[in-house]
């Protein structure tokens, strides 16, 4: 399954799953979700014009 082929909501959901390892007791911050999603799909979550270097806040 290709992370980039997913919609934005699905990418966040998958990021949450990967960061928590499917543990429903573990929490995850919005920042962790963003950085993880950006590392998997820089063009979807990067700062416009700087997609490869910075995630969008």
């Amino acid at each position: 399954m290709d992370f980039k082929s997913l919609g934005l909501k699905q990418q966040i959901l998958l990021a949450a799953y990967q960061l928590t390892d499917g543990d429903l007791q573990k929490t995850v911050t919005a920042e962790e979700l963003l950085v993880h999603a950006w590392s998997e799909d820089k063009h979807a979550w990067g700062l416009r014009g700087f997609e490869e270097r910075h995630h969008d806040s």
Partner: protein, 177 residues
């Protein structure tokens, strides 16, 4: 990111859909329904699938064994008071409106995800390792009926706690992720 997580331009975010729950400001946790939806994204990942199934089964069992639901099965005129329905949903007067909405929706999401899981695998029941039936399709359908009855019976109280709750929950339950 926050557009996708929270309500934006009238659309439900992932939290509103009951797939993640907001624990604190900018802190989230996966729900059983969210875990099931995440495992659907990677069907070849059997570990994820197994984990999602176990978590979902535990969440469904907790709902089906709730004393308020059991009472209704014995006597459909129960619950008579909102505090009993609130016990089932995990809400009470003073609960923030967003939390009310999420908790009521999460019951439906969990049951709907379990029903979908059974349909996808063409099963009628979920059996635990020792062969005991944990729950079947009819249990879930009955509990979804109970949820509708509760929402209708306590519509006024729900509206008071969250003026958008009844409308929003109906929208959420009719929308597929």
């Amino acid at each position: 990111m926050f557009k996708e997580l929270d309500v934006h331009a009238g659309k439900q975010g992932i939290v509103g859909e009951g797939l993640l729950t907001k624990v604190h400001q900018r802190v989230y946790r996966l729900t059983a329904a969210g875990l099931a939806a995440a495992s659907d994204l990677a069907p070849s990942d059997t570990i994820a699938r197994g984990k999602a199934d176990r978590q979902l089964e535990a969440a469904v069992k907790q709902i089906l064994e709730h004393p308020v639901f059991r009472q209704w099965l014995r006597d459909p005129t129960r619950p008579k008071y909102f505090r009993e329905a609130g016990h089932f949903w995990g809400i009470a007067p003073g609960t923030p409106s967003k939390t009310v909405r999420e908790r009521v929706a999460s019951v439906e999401r969990t049951l709907a995800a379990a029903l979908k899981g059974l349909q996808d695998r063409n099963l009628n029941e979920v059996v635990e390792q020792r062969g005991k039936i944990l729950f079947d399709r009819k249990d879930i359908e009955r509990c979804l009926e109970f949820q509708s009855v509760l929402k209708e019976r306590f519509r006024k109280e729900l509206r008071l706690l969250d003026p958008d709750s009844v409308r929003t929950v109906e929208q959420v339950s009719s929308r597929n992720f």
